[in-house]
Point group: C2
Chain length 216, copies 2
Amino acid sequence: MKRPEPRTEPVPEATSHRLSLLLRSLRSLEAAGVRTASSYEIAARFSLNSAQIRKDLAQFGEFGVRGVGYRVADLKAHLKDLMGLGVTHAIGIAGAGKLGQALADSPNFNAEGFRVAALFDVDGRKVGGCSRTGVPIRDVQALDGLVKKLGIDIGILAIPEAGAVPLAQRMAGAGVRAILNFAPVTVPALPGVLVKNLDLTFFLENLSFQLAIAKA
Amino acid sequence: MKRPEPRTEPVPEATSHRLSLLLRSLRSLEAAGVRTASSYEIAARFSLNSAQIRKDLAQFGEFGVRGVGYRVADLKAHLKDLMGLGVTHAIGIAGAGKLGQALADSPNFNAEGFRVAALFDVDGRKVGGCSRTGVPIRDVQALDGLVKKLGIDIGILAIPEAGAVPLAQRMAGAGVRAILNFAPVTVPALPGVLVKNLDLTFFLENLSFQLAIAKA
């Protein structure tokens, strides 16, 4: 495999999501015992676009083998490596409410590349307990020390709006490198920390918007 | 206000999300008693881009008033109307697990434009009960009748992967017009129904990807 020069500009979210879909497709092919596949075969099987697959991959190297297509296991390993999923990221979730616990117990937040290390809450009735799958619920006061001790590099905010910005700042100060914010407030960029604001209401509003346009 | 010709092509999700942010900003301004504001003032106060605000709005009409800027209440009302939020969408959530109940009880899924009308589940121990805020949990077998009776036009899938596609098809058959799918599987396009697949893992993988590139 040849690789282009390392790139430092951000990868567009749409590209990243397509590569996530491709990775999911490769896992599925591997589980089905398929060892090699062309971009056409992958595209047909998973309703993807073959030209887009080739274009997305071409930005990061030459992964295909002439006359063979892609070796499924190899391409999966390369993609995982490229996307930083060869190591396991430890996740800390602020907010042990229903959303926080749903994420903590989600198989997909504890799959290749990720492990939820702790939930944090202010509620003394929850602290000391754990989620259904055994993720410990810790006092938010212990956040700074536990981020370091558990090697937490990704923080998730599943708390109400009011606490989100201060808690993001606190996570950043403790050494978290990326934050996924579900609170309906914009957490501004923090030095040296990636922040993704993910207000789920916006997706509902988008559906409403499209329905309104379709009706017009 | 002048309006351009009605448009039928889909609005890009990024544009829609920016208009959602703008709407949130206008609600905040209104709550603070601000009656008029220029795009510069709105941008400065909410960390938005003033040229982008004007460009996004210009696609849908002329909303500003020369020498005044925007009238906050008017622009908010126009945006709500444009985005189909002047009517209340009834939402049905399949899956009364933690994620489903978190969404059902979320103030933002029961705010202007939306109301969660019912949760659906297969678990006989949950059916007949309700969520913390009182959203009834109904048997999924009753879905078809209740979609019609309650006027549910948006369905949310908060269930495991295996059931997602059949349930989406069932919702579509019952008359749901848009589906937001949180299960980690792609629900394909269904005739006459908007489908948004929202695998939250992809946002985590994107953060991992960006961290890997920053390190390279």
